[in-house]
Amino acid sequence: MSILVDANTTFIVQGITGREAVNLTRECLDYGSGAKIVGGVTPGRLGRDVHGVPVFDTVAQAVAHHGAPIDGSVVTVPPAFTKDAVFEAIENGIKLIVIVTERIPRRDVAQMVELASANGARIIGPNCLGIIVPDVIKMGGIGGPAKDAAKAYSPGTIGVISRSGGMTTEMSSTLTAAGMGQSTAVSIGGDAIIGSSYAELMSLFEADEATEGIVIYTEPGGRMEAQLAQWVAENNSRLPIVAFMAGRFMDEMPGMSFGHAGTIVEGKEDTATEKIARLAEAGITVAEEISEIPALIQAKIDERKS
């Protein structure tokens, strides 16, 4: 099994006629058994199609055309229009929204997240590459073209959560090379405020019988790792976790942001050093190098089984 999406998930692409969105649509259609992209939305482009996917002016038209509720949406519209697009998706009953767009002011993101949670919807991202269930479905640009995604991702028992889109693929590829597949890999985005944090996805992985262990990629900035450590401590999780922390050099450079908008070190608690200590306290192993991850997570899984 998997979390968030499966072989039956239907979704639309908002902003589908944009250059990147056209590629993304192709990639998703080609991957696995073929994603069920039931429509696309670009205002003013009603009646067109993108790789056979019908284009609508509004989400409501897409839902009406589909004749049933639509599960998800990949939002890839410019930052100034993202809030409107996400509000539209939520108000039309969509429950899973992957926001690809970068550079959205955090107040807009916070408003989207608050409206989503009031409506029982979930946001992944922004500034993320989306979700992949190996060989089944990919929702977003994660892993790139289908043939490249197939090289990096393979079906298996490890859940992957990452603040970096590229590193989601790098870590999954390392696991795949070691013979360890992934149940679901989620690129959660690198911004200061995101729809779903590690801790907020853990309960889904916890409930997914196919998942036996979790691998996460983390960075300085914010309190998401502290939140994860607390979640693990409070929930007596069955899942062993291995983390990789990038950007250790940033501890020497407070006030500067590298990599992603959310990485700025503002206090003592959000440094790499402090986060590593927090994670370790919660029993989460922090790998020094990516290449160590497969052996570390395997050992932890074996330990729990014995």
């Binding site: 916070a110 970096s164 590193m167 693929t169 590829s173 939140q227 990516i290």
Partner: protein, 402 residues
């Protein structure tokens, strides 16, 4: 983006919060005029973006306008936190009976702004939170529902403040929270708010940070404050090398060559993307390497952009070799990056095989990329070589070469 105090004060004033009479000055003459307007004892405060002004001698008290002018001459000469002051703020020296703290910041875990208030102001709020936690009130505010005032009332009342004090502070703290929202701030802080002998309250110092991503929707305010579009307001001023990096990125809209940052090592880095660069920079240092720079390429940069960045790094004084490395790419094309870095070497009359210590970019179009690298004898690696191993190989080569 951080505002100078004189700008933050102006933002506070525009929000309808009472502030002391103040003026911004870049010359002793202007400072004297500002002090004359104040008509009483004044404070001359250095306008820099970093803290520690008092300790560095950047804050001076003056009884007369002439004294304010004299202090301005001195203060303008003092470098604080690596920055020369932009000017001085000439402020009223207010007689306050008590100092309070009010601030609004984002809570990334709750995904809402949080109002923080304390009747113990004038010092670092984190210190107050540690030493007198019951004197610090916090409350989240909705992102969707407009502020009405009870939110601030609850925070202030939770710290034990009541009576007319409470009623006079509520509008100030509500206006502060509103300006935080209206201006896309990531920090809006008044510390201290002073209570004067007549029982009125006044903002004495303010700190404001606006989110960079939102600058575009506050053009009018920024223009009125005189903040230029090109002012980054980072923790330190960009170096000439970093400005050249920005120029490379701006020349061509295809792809990104971002966050070019100067370090003083001998190994030039052409690395990407966001998370990959963070990982690779750490990896180089973990193996004892000394990076000459940091950068993030991605989003499928053109040959010319990659070439421009590689040239900049190759020509940086002290750089022996460059390492071209990324995490597995799916959007960026390996062959285009390969072309770009080889072109850079050739145009500078350098041998790519000698100058490129390692090329480790697996992913889209890698077969084509590796063919090009083969043709020039450049050492490359696919995904079977980890990012850390690639970094080690680059560091080893530099060691052997010098």
């Amino acid at each position: 983006m951080r505002f100078y105090e004189y700008e933050a004060r102006e933002i506070v004033r525009r929000a309808g919060i009472p502030v002391t009479e103040f003026g911004f000055a870049t010359t002793p003459e202007e400072a004297k005029a500002a002090a004359e307007k104040i008509d009483g004892p004044s404070v001359v405060k250095s306008q820099v973006l970093s803290g520690g002004r008092m300790k560095a001698g950047g804050v001076q008290f003056a009884d007369t306008p002439d004294e304010a002018a004299a202090h301005t001459v001195d203060v303008l000469k003092i470098e604080i936190g690596g920055q020369m002051p932009r000017g001085v703020l000439v402020d009223t020296k207010a007689e306050v009976e008590q100092e309070y703290y009010a601030g609004v910041v984002w809570d990334g875990t709750a995904k809402q702004p949080v109002i923080i208030f304390s009747p113990v102001g004038g010092i670092d709020i984190e210190q107050v939170a540690e030493e007198q936690p019951d004197k610090v009130g916090r409350r989240h505010i909705s992102n969707l529902r407009p502020l009405t005032g009870f939110e601030a009332k609850e925070v202030i009342a939770s710290t034990g403040v009541t009576g007319s004090e409470l009623n006079k502070l509520v509008p100030i703290v509500t206006k502060l929270a509103q300006l935080f929202i209206d201006n896309d701030m990531t920090l809006a802080e008044i510390n201290p708010i002073g209570r004067l002998a007549d029982g009125s309250f006044i903002a004495l110092d303010a700190h404001m940070d606006m989110e960079n991503e939102a600058r575009g929707r506050h053009k009018k305010l920024l223009a009125e404050l005189g903040v230029g579009d090109d002012e980054t307001r980072e923790a330190r001023e960009p170096t000439a090398f970093e400005l050249a990096g920005e120029a490379v990125d701006a020349e061509d809209h295809r792809g990104v060559a971002g966050n070019v940052t100067e370090f003083d090592g001998n190994l030039g880095l052409v690395i990407g993307a966001g998370g990959g660069s963070l990982t690779l920079f750490d990896a180089v240092r973990a193996h004892g390497g000394k990076p000459a720079n940091y950068c993030e390429i991605g989003g499928n940069p053109s040959v010319s952009k990659t070439c421009g960045l590689a040239k900049l790094v190759l020509q940086k004084p002290g750089v022996d070799k460059i390492a071209v490395m990324m995490s597995i790419v799916s959007n960026t094309r390996v062959d285009i990056v390969a072309r770009g870095v080889i072109k850079a070497c050739l145009e500078l009359g350098m041998d790519p095989a000698e100058k490129i210590a390692i090329f480790r970019i697996p992913g889209a179009w890698e077969e084509q990329g590796f063919l090009i690298l083969d043709a020039y004898g450049v050492e490359y690696a696919d995904r079977s070589v980890s990012m850390h191993e690639a970094a080690k190989r680059a560091v080893d080569k530099i060691g052997a070469g010098s």
